[in-house]
């Protein structure tokens, strides 16, 4: 691949190269997929801590008198229920109920911060602009100068306490606050993440990213902190069954199919884009549903592989599949007919033209260990 000239780089590119990372293309960015190895990094996050550069993620500021009303209009979640200093997961849905993106909304003293997927930054921003009519809101895409690090794992709290003081390290689950990192780096700290472990996400200006990255790695080394890449980020989120846009969720998948109905608050007291259709879908039920399955014969499921029912008929495809490092099983996710999305259903996954048996199991595969 010699497309690197057209790929975007985060402010930490030189750090990744110096740490021996293998760089890959992801959503238009040149990102580290691994440093010491995916399994080693995965295990570090489950057992100690990992530090991820997630500066490719998009950040929008939503400010002004109608900020809340606007977010209520485009989000499925009840944004009014997110108190100041708190954050929550939400979806942006289309009028037909399809998922535009999954996002995180942070309620800060001077307005809201919305984090969106890297590959959807332009689409989401255009979507919000299209729906902005009639709202007195200042919507700003700050993705180009905002960096984001994720410090994740059971040792993250102790490392953050050293880096930012005991107050920020004591944030509740989904809490968010502004503060100083390493004494003089202004930033936003949130107790959120994408690994199924306790941990924090840190927002800083691009100019401070390298100093914070180096400083955290040095502070955390004794506690077992390791730099972790997108490979481990994917295996960690997969075990916890956290959806990835373009895989478990997409424009043509609705929240009930993706088992994200809990993030749709039909009765939040204000209308929102997609509400009428979503209410109808909820009432009628869905024809297909996301299921987690375990391969019961030798083989590994991968995204895009065909799924078949017990009679051998095609029923869908794998959205994500891999050997789960913390569970020692070959697992997969995929949309299947709703009747088959129940524990114990027998399926098969077509691996290199050969059907391999699989059984639907409970999700999430890995029970998140959030500090609540």
């Amino acid at each position: 691949m010699s497309t690197s000239a057209t790929l975007k780089r985060t402010p930490l590119f030189d750090q990744h190269v110096a740490l021996g990372a293998r760089m890959v293309e992801f959503g238009g960015w040149e990102m580290p997929v691994q440093y010491s190895g995916i399994v080693d990094e995965h295990n570090a996050v489950r057992g100690a801590a990992g530090l991820f550069d997630i500066s490719h993620m998009g950040e929008f500021e939503v400010k002004g008198p109608d900020a809340l009303a606007f977010l209520q209009h485009v989000c499925t979640q009840d944004i009014a229920a997110i108190g100041e200093g708190m954050a929550n997961y939400s979806l942006l849905c289309r009028p037909d109920g399809g998922i535009v993106d999954d996002i995180f909304v942070y309620n800060l003293p001077d307005g809201y911060l919305v984090v969106v997927n890297a590959s959807n930054i332009d689409k989401d921003f255009a979507w919000m602009l299209d729906n902005l009519h009639g709202f007195n809101v200042e919507l700003t895409n700050i993705s180009d100068h905002a960096s984001m690090l994720a410090l994740q794992g059971p040792a993250a709290e102790g490392i953050l306490a050293q880096a930012a003081g005991p107050e920020l390290a004591a944030l509740p689950f989904h809490g968010v606050a502004t503060g100083m990192l390493l004494g003089d780096i202004p930033g936003i700290v949130a107790r959120t993440g994408y690994t199924g472990e306790d941990g924090f996400e840190l927002f800083i200006d691009d100019d401070n990213a390298a100093r914070l990255w180096d400083g955290l790695l040095a502070l955390g080394r004794a506690a077992g902190l390791k730099p972790a890449g997108l490979g481990a980020r994917d295996s960690l989120r997969f075990e916890a069954c956290l959806p990835l846009y373009g895989h478990e969720i997409a424009d043509d998948i609705n929240p009930y199919e993706a088992k994200l109905g809990w993030a749709v608050k039909l009765d939040k007291g204000s209308d929102f884009v997609g509400r009428a259709t979503l209410a109808q879908i909820k009432q009628q039920g869905v024809a297909r549903k996301l299921a987690g399955f375990e391969l019961t014969e030798r083989g590994i499921a991968r995204g895009g592989y065909e799924l078949r029912d017990a009679a051998g008929a095609r029923i869908g495809e794998v959205s994500t599949g891999m050997p789960a490092p913390s569970l020692g099983k070959n697992l997969g996710l995929g949309l299947v007919p709703a009747a088959l999305a129940t524990e114990g259903s027998e399926l098969s996954v077509v691996v290199r033209d050969r059907p391999v048996r699989a059984r639907v199991v409970k999700t999430p595969f890995y029970k998140p260990r959030y500090k609540k």
Partner: protein, 129 residues
């Protein structure tokens, strides 16, 4: 990083190595290939007795992240497969040229376009840059 490329082996553009001894040959993957794959967690090999043409996929090697097929550097019939590497896929990372050979074959015909160790090193250098 410098990768090992033993001089007594020949190499394919798809990163397999082959040791030809008379009409028999042993096939594995190169040190560069194992490093590019990352931690190998699964190996799938063909049944003894299967015949393949040059360039056919004869098996698969998988890491947490991805599945990669392995291809026949020459045509032939499989006469042995390495159970050790099926049972302990991590052998491919630790000793790609020794314990972690994949299959032995009876070579079917004249050998086609293979590279010497020196030519393969140049080839790897080029794809890395």
């Amino acid at each position: 990083m410098a990768f090992k490329t033993p001089a007594d082996l020949q190499y394919a553009k798809t990163h397999e190595w082959i040791r030809i001894e008379g009409d028999e040959a042993t096939i594995g993957i190169s040190d560069y290939a194992q490093d590019a794959l990352g931690d190998v967690v699964y190996v799938e090999l063909p049944d003894v007795g299967t015949t393949f043409e040059t360039g056919d996929a004869f098996g698969a090697i998988e890491s947490v992240k991805a599945a990669s097929e392995v291809y026949m550097p020459v045509a032939g019939e499989v006469v042995a497969t390495n159970d050790a590497v099926v049972n302990s896929p991590e052998l491919l990372n630790s000793e790609p040229y020794d314990g972690a050979w994949l299959i032995k074959i009876k070579v079917a015909e004249g050998v086609g376009a293979l590279m010497s160790a020196e030519a393969y090193e140049k080839f790897v250098d080029e794809i890395k840059h």
